[in-house]
């Protein structure tokens, strides 16, 4: 296989220039359309304001255990309540 001549190479580079820039423009143009569709979609289906807050504490259960602190607070208050005459 003989190495490509310089003019063959330049032709190749020119075609890469053409095809490459076209592809970039096509890709990002499609992305523009997509972004507009996303915006419309998001406006069409507004977020049900409540649901997002239902299970946030469920997140990352195996990771943090800060409830222990909450629990201690509760436990202490429960303990104190236990000493008082039950009001219910």
């Amino acid at each position: 296989m003989t190495p490509p001549t310089i003019s063959e190479q330049l032709l190749e580079a020119a075609s890469l220039l053409l095809v490459g820039m076209s592809s970039v423009f096509v890709f990002l143009s499609v992305l523009i359309v997509s972004v507009k569709l996303i915006t419309k979609f998001v406006e069409a289906f507004p977020e049900p304001a409540a649901t997002a807050h239902v299970t946030p504490t469920a997140a990352s259960s195996s990771f943090h255990q800060q409830d222990v602190i909450t629990a201690i607070t509760h436990a202490v208050s429960a303990y104190r309540q236990g000493k008082q005459p039950p009001s219910n």
Binding site: V19, P56, A58, S61, S62, A75, Y79, Q81, N88
Partner: protein
């Protein structure tokens, strides 16, 4: 023209297979669960993303030279990532509630019945056409009942790597579903009176007890169950770093930056096992079904054991706390707390449930060691 032909052939469109499309939908589904439903997002987000990446035609993420290939072989095939996560979890775990009330270890033991019953169930499934689980497969599936992600991934990577993706997905999904799976079982097995039982305040545990505890666990594991020492050992190392108080900078790094870095990689690596050949099989359905069964049986066994314990105990025991024995730390304990509050709005069970909860972590690591020793 030829360039455009090459360009067309270099798009994914003419190369897509149906299986890859379905698996990408599975990946999107996991992302949905993670982001919208907040199901264990720390793992399910990278797992879902890994599932997307690994199923892209031509991209070769999971082939030799691909990013996910390297991550999987460096971190999961060697067992390093789940063990490092377990070290970090150890550094986050407070055994105070368990040391104050060591009987709760029996609850953590009982809940492992979910594991072994599921092993039996998986073998029984072989009677159906399409299922051919080996004993190794069955053991790897059964560990889903341990409700502990790193343990499940570690065992699956040793016993049944081809099922790893499905097992990990099932394990984390069901852990996220604990608030839905457990309460009906807990209520079915207890009377309203039992659920209202108030337990005594736990004593304060000294720093020295907390330091000696992980060493005692390790010592016992070394003696009788060396096959469990990778899991238990790294867990105890993390816990010792935390409780000793002399290496706080190491402990902090283990439970923050190190576990975060490893979590990203582990999630991606697990996701890379979600290929259509491995996942789109009837066996995956079996795994998903068995996982739900395992969680349910484990929960029931924990509650029943708590009722049994309550019979012989001088101190009052609320049987609900047995459900926390499946681990799924700390979500199962939160569920116990919530169901308890439903019965009596002044009865906070969270601290009491933390004992069986962390006992469940030890219990399933021990169960994993037993399975490794007997069928590994």
């Amino acid at each position: 023209m030829e360039k455009i032909q090459i360009l067309w052939q270099s798009t994914a469109i003419p190369h897509f297979e149906m299986g890859q499309i379905i698996m990408m939908l599975v990946g999107f589904g996991l992302l949905y669960l993670a982001i919208v439903k907040k199901f264990e997002p720390l793992l399910l987000l990278p797992i879902g993303f890994g599932a997307l990446l690994t199923n892209i035609p031509l991209a070769g993420f999971s082939e030799v030279g691909g990013l996910l290939h390297y991550i999987y072989y460096i971190g999961v095939d060697t067992g390093i990532f789940p063990l490092l996560i377990f070290m970090g979890v150890g550094a986050m775990t407070d055994f105070g509630a368990l040391i104050a009330n060591p009987k709760t270890l029996w609850l953590g033991a009982a809940a492992q019945f979910g594991i072994f019953a599921t092993l039996f169930g998986a073998i029984a499934l072989n009677a159906l056409p399409g299922f051919e689980f080996t004993l190794q497969d069955a053991a790897a599936i059964a560990i889903i009942g341990g409700a502990d992600g790193p343990t499940a991934i570690f065992l699956a990577s040793k016993l049944a790597p081809e099922l790893l993706g499905a097992i990990a997905v099932a394990a984390y999904s069901y852990m996220a579903l604990v608030p839905i799976i457990q309460p009906p079982i807990m209520k079915a097995l207890t009377t309203p009176e039992e659920r209202q039982i108030k337990m005594n305040q736990l004593r304060v545990v000294s720093k020295r007890e907390k330091i000696i505890f992980p060493l005692a666990v390790l010592f016992l594991t070394i003696l009788v169950l060396p096959s469990a020492t990778p899991l238990v050992g790294m867990f105890c190392l993390g816990n010792l770093m935390k409780e000793s108080g002399v290496v706080d900078r190491l402990s902090n790094t283990a439970q923050n930056e190190l576990i975060n870095i490893v979590t990203i990689f582990l999630g991606l690596a697990v996701g890379s096992k979600l290929s259509s050949e491995a996942f789109l099989t009837v066996e995956t359905l079996g795994i998903l079904g068995l996982g739900a069964v395992a969680f349910s049986i484990g929960t029931a066994a924990g509650v029943l054991m708590a009722k049994l314990l309550a019979k012989f105990s001088k101190e009052p025991i609320n049987p609900l706390i047995g459900a926390a024995g499946v681990s799924a730390v700390p979500m199962a304990a939160r569920v116990v707390n919530k169901v308890g509050l439903d019965a009596n709005p002044h009865n906070f069970l969270l601290m009491h449930a933390m004992g069986p909860n962390v006992a469940g972590v030890l219990g399933s690591a021990v169960a994993a060691g037993i399975l490794l020793a007997l069928v590994g």
